[in-house]
Every structure is written in C-alpha cells, then in structure tokens.
C-alpha cells in the first residue's frame, strides 16, 4: 500500500533521515519505533508530503507520489494524524469534521457518521470549539478527521502520547478495530508493548536509519527492546 524507498529527508543543511526503506503491505499494521530525535516524525512528514524528499521515492498503492502535494496524497487515500493532538482550535468539533467531509463530497456525510460511531464521546461535543477540548478528545477528533478522508492507509504519529490513560485504551482499541476492518496503518509509537501487539511488522529507527526490522507480535518485544537499547 505504501512504500518508502531509499528516502532521504532533512531540514536546511541538516540531513535527518538517511535512506530509509519501509513497506506497509495492504491491510497490514506497521509500527516504527525509536528514540526521540531518531527521525520518526520527519520520516512521516516526508511520507505525507509536508517535507520534500531529497532523494528516494514514496509509492502509494504502487503509484509514485513523491512530487505531489499533501492534499493530493490525502485524496489518493493517505490519511495523516500528526503528533500532538492537532486540531483547528477556533473551529467547532463539527466544523473540524465537516471541513474534511466537504472535500470527501457525496461520501462525506456517511463517513462523518461512521467516524462518530467509532468515537461516540465526540457526539456530545460537536458544538464546542476544538481548542476547548481535552487532549484525548482532540486526538479522537484528529483520528475522526483522518477517517473521513476515506483512507486506504492511515499514518499515526504517536497517537497516545500525552493523553490521559482512560482515553489511551479507547484510542488503542479504535486502531485495532480499524486495522481489523482492512485499513493499512503506519504507526509511530513509544509504547513498545502496544505497538508490537497491534502490528504485523516493525521497524526500529535510529539516527535516521533502520537498525532492526521484522515481524510484529508481542513475542518480539525482547528483540525490539534490545535493538532500541532500552
């Protein structure tokens, strides 16, 4: 579904990601783990088009999207939930979702409803400004927004970081539920336990390079922790 081939990314003179190859097969959940500053977010930003790739290619469903703009990749089925529970703070929760539903056209209303079924807590908050929601609620809103784009693959950057524990479980359940429904997932996650339990493949990123990868599953936890030197 998504293939990153020999991807080099950086900011200004600083190179951050040095030739990374990652593949997310159709319907698979792939976890990318690594310490802070390993280049995980930079890698994801390049995958979705917010940062230009210096070299290498990004293939989405077999098509080269390396030079396309982020909104074109979204419309081609690549949804992105950035780090930090981002939402449009001055828009209401409903407007946050409607914004995306507008782009989705005739499918918009149905998908908006489905996304709310996944996070029923949001239904009662629709008229509230997103900036006034809690971190966990905003993260649910962000995932709902991504789902309304009608993705074939969803890219999640630390979806449970900095969120109250009660909501973490809800979000993890939602990710598992989406994956079992056939959605491909590329997940950057600090919680090694959850990441491995949910994923079918894992990659460990260190200083912008893949230093370990293999099949997912909780059995791999020892290997991954060793690779990450936790």
């Amino acid at each position: 579904m998504l293939e990153l081939r020999g991807l080099h990314v950086g900011y200004g003179r600083t190179a951050v990601v040095h030739g990374v190859d990652i593949e997310v097969p159709d319907g698979a959940v792939v976890a990318v783990m690594g310490h802070n500053g390993a280049g995980k977010t930079t890698l994801l930003r390049a995958a979705v088009g917010l940062l230009p790739a210096r070299s290498g290619t990004v293939l989405l469903g077999g098509e080269d999207v390396t030079r396309t703009r982020p909104h074109q990749r979204v419309r081609a089925g690549l949804a992105y939930v950035p780090q930090g529970q981002q939402s449009f703070g001055q828009l209401t929760a409903r407007e946050n979702l409607q914004l995306v539903a507008d782009v989705a056209g005739s499918q918009g209303a149905r998908r908006l409803d489905e996304a709310l079924d996944l996070f029923p807590a949001l239904r009662g908050l629709l008229t509230r400004r997103a900036g006034l929601l809690s971190g966990g609620q905003r993260q649910q809103l962000a995932i709902a927004r991504a789902l309304i784009t009608g993705p074939r693959l969803i890219v999640l950057d630390e979806p449970t970081e900095g969120i109250q524990p009660s909501v973490v479980a809800e979000i993890e359940d939602a990710i598992v539920q989406l994956a079992s429904g056939g959605l491909s997932v590329l997940l950057v996650e600090q919680h090694v336990g959850f990441a491995l339990a949910a994923s079918s493949h894992y990659y460990v990123l260190e200083s912008g390079r893949v230093t370990a990868h293999g099949a997912g599953g909780v059995a791999q936890e020892g290997d991954v922790r060793a690779a990450m030197a936790i």
Partner: protein
C-alpha cells in the same frame, strides 16, 4: 442633543466607509497576514468600474446596482492576478510583500491616469439616492444611509460565508494551521487564491460605494489605505467582529474630534488615541483565546 445625534450619525457614516475599505483587508491582512498596499487601488478600480458602466447604462440607478457585483469581480480579479503573479512567491516575507504591492499600487495609479486622465471624474448618483430622509428632526442624506446599509450587508454576507460555507471553513482552517489543513485534504494554495479574490472583491465594492460620496480619481485608494490598515490593527487580527467595532469606533471618534477641532487636528488626536490604545492592548480589540495553541 441634535448636535450630539448628528455627530453620531456622521461618525457612523464615516465608520461605514472605513468598514467597507477595511473589510477586504480584514481577510487578506487580518486572516492571511499579507500586507497589500495595493488594496486601495482595488477600491479605485471598483470606482472606475462604476464610472465606465454608467457610460453603457444610461439609468444611474441600474448602473449602480450593476456596478456593485461587477466591481466585486473587477477588484477580485485584480487581487487574484496579484496573488498568483507576485504575492504567492513571498508568503512569510512581509517586508518584500509591502514593497512589491506598494510598487503595484503606483503602477495601477499611473495606469488609471493614462486611461482616464489625471483630473477627477464624477459618477452620477441615482435619483432615488438624492435628497435626505428626515429622522428625529435631522436630514440624513440617502447616499450615506445607502453606504451604511451596504457596509452592514457586506459584513453579514462575509460572516455568513466564513461561518456557514465550505469555503469559509477552508479559509479559517488554512489560516489557523496550513499544514494541518493540507493534510486534511484542503488545497491551501487554492484557498489562498479564493480568499484573496474575495477580499479584493470587497475592495471593489467599497470603491463603487465611494463614487456616491464625491468625485473619484487615480489617488482615491491612497486616501483610504492607511485608515483601512488602522481599522484592522485596532480591531484585532483574525476576526471580522473586531474590524466592525473598530471601524465604527474610529469613525465616531474622528467625527467627534472634527466637531470640536479641525479636520487635521482630529486626525492627529485620533492617531494619539490609537497609539495609546495599542500600547495597552497590542493585540487589538478582539483577540482569540483557546485552550491550546493548536
């Protein structure tokens, strides 16, 4: 009492003109952060649109009503052209934008001089706008009332567009967080262009309205550009509400100062008040608060 009321009306009337001049700027400068010095020249273009149209449409009333939408399109297209050719290359470079658009303003003024001549020209006001309406013993000029109504109509229309339409949601989302808008499937470039079209179009409408107040000339825009920026800065970036309150407050203040002093001294006093106000409240009248910055 009469004097007070008539000053109040003079202030509201001045405020409505300021508001029309500033409303488009509240979008392009307030929302997008672009310092467009040629905004006044888009007003001038709107004014000349009304002048040209009355040559083709003999009835002054019909001509005015046609000029409003046509002025919108003329102003909007000029803005779109400017955005696509120049401004889009210098987002996040406000100083360059300021200089370039100032240059464009001068070019447009000279263009108007070449096409229409340097002397001012007049646009006939329609018969139904001549005369005055007696209210509470005063005679309120119909043209002034028309401009007040037009300003209010423009504010209502613009806030409806921003609040309830898909375009409005895209504009607000793009202003708040470009990257997030882009990864929500919104083409931020297309949104920029549309925002600029609408903002500049409102300048064109303002220009049409100004033809009712007196003769128009190539430097029409320069008379309003500074005041228009003042309104947006005093009102606070990012919200139309602020611009509305600021325009009417400044209008009433200026009218009051003019009543008690002279026109130039009134301007000086107004600037003093604004400088003092911005010392206390640099973010303007209406500012936006959220739980997080996101």
């Amino acid at each position: 009492m009469d004097a007070l009321f008539s000053q109040l009306f003079a202030g509201l009337s001045l405020g409505s003109v300021l508001l029309l001049a500033a409303l488009g700027l509240a979008l392009t400068f307030g929302q997008m952060g672009v310092i467009n010095m040629a905004h006044g020249e888009f007003m001038m273009a709107g004014a000349y649109t009304a002048f040209v149209l009355q040559a083709f449409i003999p009835d002054a009333g019909v001509s005015l009503l046609v000029a409003l939408p046509v002025g919108f399109v003329v102003g909007g297209l000029l803005g779109l052209l400017l955005e696509v050719t120049l401004i889009s290359r210098m987002y996040r470079r406000p100083l360059d934008t300021l200089l370039v658009t100032f240059g464009v303003a001068l070019v447009l003024q000279q263009l108007a001089r070449d096409v229409f001549g340097a002397p001012n020209v007049d646009v006939r006001a329609p018969a139904w706008l001549s005369g005055a309406v007696p209210v509470l013993g005063m005679n309120l000029p119909k043209t002034r009332l028309f401009i007040l109504a037009l300003a209010i109509a423009c504010v209502v229309a613009l806030s409806l567009v921003l609040k309830t339409t898909s375009l409005g949601r895209r504009i607000r989302a793009t202003v708040q967080n470009r990257d997030l808008a882009e990864t929500s499937g919104v083409s931020t470039r297309a949104t920029d262009r549309l925002t600029f079209f609408v903002g500049s179009g409102v300048a064109g409408v303002a220009g049409v309205a100004l033809t009712l107040l007196g003769s128009i000339g190539p430097t029409l825009g320069t008379n309003y550009i500074v005041d228009a920026f003042l309104v947006v800065v005093v009102g606070g970036i990012g919200q139309l509400k602020g611009a509305v309150i600021a325009a009417f407050s400044l209008g009433i203040l200026q009218a009051t100062f003019e009543y008690s002093t002279t026109a130039s001294l009134a301007k000086v006093l107004l600037f003093v008040v604004i400088v003092a106000f911005l010392q206390v409240r640099p973010q303007g009248l209406v500012s936006v608060r959220t739980r997080s910055l996101a």
